[in-house]
Symmetry: C2
Subunit: 209 residues, 2 copies
DNA sequence: CCGCTGGGTTAACGGTCACTAACTGCACCG
DNA sequence: CGGTGCAGTTAGTGACCGTTAACCCAGCGG
């Protein structure tokens, strides 16, 4: 799996990532992607710097050319996920003609993300506690805003249902949608997406008391 | 939080766990309980032996009087959870008059367990990968049997729905039910239990098609 | 009263990990 | 063609962790 001779390592790197001129900071993304997979599989503390380096064809401390440390890497990863989910949600809600379509769009967006990036979704709701304090608050804030986007749409859709109940229902639906990594390849992705969306839809409808 | 003077530690231990004669191997359970909370919060590799010892009023290596090691502790914890879920499920299914009641009972059992032991549920589906091989297979087998108990009930209830789809739906419902730790105290437990059951019910009904 | 056992203590050891230091080579720019 | 900077390398360091060793003490049965 690992390439040992230095020259061979260099060759593998070049062949897998085109010529170096096209590499405008794309190495960071490559590292983040590999780290996401490892973190999802073995947990943040179960993965070493050497593991991450090895996964992208370099060895260990090369990583410090791109990130200030292991925790900073995780922080950037989770911050990016939270931002993508949140901005996608606000855009979808503002563009939707009514609450009904807004909910459908939110569902579509979340399912799509969960199916496309199962490792990121897994790490996102497991490893917040491993992020150091400055960045942790920003991530939590974005996560809260994301949830609140759902809750306001649901509030409009199911008035008379108390917001705490809607919040709990939203968290439950996230658990349902994020179950993707556990039932990896039971179904083809398109079928899986449709299944998750309809299950979530029905679950939310049943949540109004 | 932690007691420092030895005499005080001893006193705290005695007061929290009655007199020693009544302690017939209950210390193991106490350690398992504390370890579950720590593992759920920070992950298996993010918790040290010293942390676990400190959480039960002893310091570090005292743990080896009760378990052969850290991995063995985790293995016993997950094996116990898997067994409880599985035996409870088989009992409930065999005692139920029909598939409809069987599903209700399965739901009731899982929700009750998840609400009573959120840390155990969390660790149960996160840290399987940290269990060494001899025990890992046994746990996986029990988990698979537990899922299959649900799938057979659902197969009887929704014939014509292919088993892979029912399996994926079951995993999704587990994700929903296990979301409890994320929405800790949004609602009173009884309300939460009812909410989760009805959401799961509706989600499963929507899964057939 | 003695010795055994169960459950605790501190000290120490070997391994691993995150991170740093020092060095190297390639690419690009003037 | 020389210098600058980016992205690697290996070696080393201090901290921490899991585990073992050696010792200690309370309770109890004979």
């Amino acid at each position: 799996m690992l390439v040992i001779i230095n020259a061979t390592v260099y060759h593998a790197r070049v062949t897998t990532a085109q010529t170096s001129t096209r590499n405008r900071g794309s190495r960071r993304a490559e590292i983040l992607d590999a780290a996401a997979g490892l973190f999802a599989a073995r947990g943040f503390h179960g993965v070493s710097i050497e593991d991450i380096g090895g996964a992208v064809g370099t060895s260990g401390p090369a990583l410090y050319r791109h990130f200030s440390g292991k925790e900073a890497l995780l922080a950037e990863m989770l911050l990016d996920v939270s931002e993508r989910l949140h901005t996608s949600a606000t855009r979808r809600v503002t563009e939707a003609p009514d609450a009904e379509h807004a909910l459908d769009s939110l569902l579509q967006g979340h399912v799509e993300f969960a199916l496309d990036h199962p490792a990121l979704i897994t790490v996102h709701d497991r490893e917040l506690g491993s992020v150091p304090e400055p960045a942790r608050r920003r991530i939590r804030r974005l996560q809260r805003l994301y949830v609140e986007e759902w809750v306001t749409v649901l509030s409009e859709l199911y008035p008379g249902c108390p917001p705490p109940r809607l919040r709990a229902a939203t968290h439950a639906v996230f658990g349902l949608l994020n179950s993707t990594p556990h039932s990896a390849d039971e179904l083809p992705p398109a079928t899986m997406a449709e299944l998750l969306r309809s299950m979530a839809r029905a679950a939310l409808a049943a949540a109004q008391s």
